[in-house]
Point group: C2
Chain length 525, copies 2
């Protein structure tokens, strides 16, 4: 099932070869720096199937057994009532709900396979599903860091800086949540201040936390205001999303279920992501963790369809392993890559857009941060991820949003985007005449074929230091983290606020101020 894309004409062109660095459109404030233009990314090859159809079916069937025989603990009274009305076997004494396979499969068949997520700037609308990929900034880090001032708890000043970096960089398609948790804002009004910042400092689409009904409702209203549409139009045009992390194993708590109800009822996107770390909240085997992931995902996705048939959703995979010595979660591991690929196979089996992540467990921007992240991106791309959460900035297993990691990830993502850009195979690009002209033993540097293309032929990385060893050593031997540190400071200075209609700004402020006066939202979630 595909939601018709009414705003297709407003979509950024999924055009051909765009290059980075010197060659491309300028970002941030006009003329601030060069970067590839904002565009909808697509993957030009099919995802990698790492298990056979039969093997996939064994995971699918095992998860249906879990739903039928073991069931899910559902803590929300209204949610259980909804489930009962849809034929689930609800046991009120234990809050345990058992789901029949047929019922689950009938319900998830209503999940749309593809839809558009609308931004207040239509040029930043995003297509979710199919072979499209959306890259979202890191979310929910309690700490942040840079190499100048070290590590510190999240705060509004850093929060705003990261939000600005998300707006400035075209490769970051949307916000993924709060890049860092600004704990200097009272929790009752934090969502109001943060969403006001996000919707004024950026014109991209964004995430709403499911931490109580009021936060969902406030977020949805803010999405409506900044897009200047009616509640009815918003319901038909998803404009924000929430991530529902189940309490693995097999538990759905009140704020989550409330989030599903509010978002689905209002036609906004629900990304269900079980938090199934193998060996901790899930079986130690990757297969077992996937069975649990799939059972939990199917239950919550089916519930979203009970709330509203056709509600836009995403199937999230976050299965990784833990360090069995410490219990700490590990990321970018071979086990998590397998889980990423199989998670994608499962999501495609159900025809649901797939969410994965760019994550690492490193404590600093060293080789480990890079290899764990690129392994994660490898899993995302070949797993067929449609939404990559935490695509930029994630360090320390998500406990820190790093300025330097943000810049490193921007470079990594731009490289991946270039890798995915279809190759020019025109007669001229095949270059037989250029080869003839240069001939055996010649050189292409000076040839007209080269001269006509050298400025735009290749992606220019922003972190990589390609100087030879001697020149590099004379310059003090800077490492990647030092380049990244220079870069975010240079770029942040050039930030310019995206335009917003004065009337919209006033309506937004009036809403936020009123809700703040009302005391915001309860903090007992």
């Amino acid at each position: 099932m595909t939601i018709p894309d009414a705003a297709a004409e407003a979509q950024p062109e999924a055009g051909r070869t765009r290059r980075g660095g010197r060659a491309a459109k300028r970002g941030g404030g006009a003329g601030a720096f060069d970067q590839p233009p904002f565009r909808q990314l697509t993957v030009p090859f099919p995802p990698t199937e790492i298990v056979s159809e039969d093997e996939l079916e064994s995971i699918h069937l095992a998860s249906l057994r879990v739903l039928k025989e073991i069931g899910i603990e559902v803590l929300h009274d209204e949610a259980r009532a909804i489930m009962r009305r849809h034929g689930a076997d609800v046991r009120e004494d234990t809050h345990r709900v058992h789901f029949d396979a047929d019922m689950v499969l009938e319900l998830i068949a209503h999940c749309p396979s593809e839809f558009t997520v609308h931004a207040r700037n239509p040029a930043h609308n995003l297509r979710m599903g199919g072979n499209n990929i959306i890259l979202a900034q890191i979310a929910s880090a309690p700490n942040c860091s840079d190499t100048d001032h070290g590590r510190r708890p999240g705060n509004q000043a850093d929060f705003r800086n990261f939000v600005k970096l998300a707006q400035m960089h075209n490769i970051i398609h949307c916000l993924g949540g709060y890049p860092v948790e600004p704990i200097d804002i009272h929790a009752g009004i934090r969502h109001l201040e943060c969403l006001r910042d996000i919707t004024t400092l950026t014109d991209k689409t964004f995430h709403i936390y499911s931490l109580g009904k009021e936060r969902n409702q406030d977020g949805i209203e803010i999405a409506r205001i900044v897009r200047s549409v009616s509640a009815e139009q918003l319901r038909d045009e998803p404009s924000c999303f929430t991530v529902i992390n189940t309490n693995s194993p097999l538990k759905l708590d009140i704020p989550m279920l409330e989030g599903v109800i509010q978002m689905a009822a209002h036609g906004q996107v629900v990304i269900v992501t079980p938090f199934t770390l193998a060996g901790a909240m899930a079986p130690i085997t990757v297969a077992g963790a996937l069975v649990e992931q799939n059972a939990e995902a199917l239950a919550a996705l089916a519930f979203a369809q009970m709330v509203r048939k056709g509600a836009p959703v995403g199937y999230g995979g976050f299965t990784s392993n833990v360090d069995m010595r410490s219990g700490a979660p590990a990321f970018g591991t071979p086990e998590s890559m397998k889980a990423q690929l199989i998670g994608g196979q499962l999501a495609r089996r159900y025809g649901i857009p797939y969410r994965s992540s760019n994550v690492c467990a490193a404590n600093t921007v060293d080789a480990q941060a890079a290899y764990e992240s690129v392994f994660s991106l490898w899993g995302c791309i070949h797993g067929g991820a449609n939404l990559v959460k935490h695509a930029a900035g994630w360090l320390e297993g998500g406990l820190c949003c790093s300025y330097e990691k943000m810049m490193l990830d921007i470079d990594l993502l731009q490289m991946v985007a270039e890798f995915l850009t279809p190759l020019d195979l025109s007669e001229d690009a095949l270059g037989v005449e250029a080869i003839r002209e240069v001939g055996p033993g010649g050189h292409f540097f000076g040839s007209p074929h080269t001269q006509a293309r050298y400025k735009t032929a290749f992606y220019s990385p922003i972190i990589s230091d390609w100087r030879n060893y001697e020149t590099w050593a004379q310059a003090g031997g800077p490492t990647s983290i030092e380049h990244a540190n220079r870069l975010w400071k240079e770029r942040l200075k050039t930030y310019e606020k995206p335009p917003m209609d004065e009337a919209i700004r006033e309506e937004l402020d009036a809403f936020v101020e009123r809700r703040i006066r009302e005391g915001g939202a309860p903090t007992d979630f």
Copy 2:
């Protein structure tokens, strides 16, 4: 065409799940350290096709036009004579040889699609082609470095250390050449000393440089001596390989052609790898560079088949781009990844084993070294590479063999190997009973399903630091390069020489000493 694998029973078992770290066989000297056992790696999914069949055909046809219309400059008289005898259009005045498409395709149809490369220890035999991957150590770096003593020109002591590390680590399947060039050994006898070291310090298969007929002949004789087989048996059992880098564009020099003649005539493996850097020795477009790569590869591969039908060969791709500001080669770039994938499609089109590389342009083991390397490995795995040269140790675009990068790469390769290991999807691994037992809201740490598996469930990285931030910071905040530095020193101390029959050792020494007395090989190559 597949060479029958007479030694199949001697093959290491391509078995199921093997884990790293604590769980696996010990390496080096008995009990020295834990590592996954030596095994033939295979890829459990098909390679990624990044261009369509039609697009691939356009590259194929363009390269045949290059061979027909432009031709290759062939500097070796006997080689031109052989080519003429096989129907090529040879122009003696310009040394230019033009090849007919039908002739080329008829010849390369004789290339075996799969064969075994024999080591003196049959447990280290390797299968080349199909879905097998062989990982070879870095070759030919002029410099080496470690963080204790910095960067220095190659020398015999470091050469021996690197060769020992290749022997000790099961994930390094074979030597790829001289990991570092020991310039303190006279060039005339260097190959004799180096191959004596390689064949006594390791029992793995190895590379012979094609730098004049004598070096090929000496190397082949050493391969024969250490395997203790007849020349006839050796001809049927490839036991060493050479890499032929064409002088791109479109030129084959005397040592290369001599190398092809010697190796093919003796049934040893010829890996043809055009050195087609887009924008320098090849057109600036990736498509054009691939056309040139393919033309040069086909010419040299066809020549190998002229020398001996069925000679074991490999199709090498090394197409990357250059930094257009400096002309320096770049590695692990998005452009090179595309070239890796399409190179694999071309090799499979011809049914020839495919060679690629794990390369980077970084000057130190920082984030850049890691991301460029993992991007390269990504291209290798999804490109369907059968031989990954420079798999461990490569830094600075190949100008330096780094001890720390060697350890980093060993970890990366072990992670990739684990990613490729088929997942256990048995009923027990699916874990429905474990999930039932733990139930909603429970924890898997203490469950019997976890307890029975926790020691071997996951790969344990050797570089990654998974401590939490506080513990890590208290320990001084070590980065990956520091872990790598500690590791190679610890491990190298535990090296133990593999056994060699006394008679073989005497025959080897006698041969090497005689050839040294004779003056070795000419140095005017």
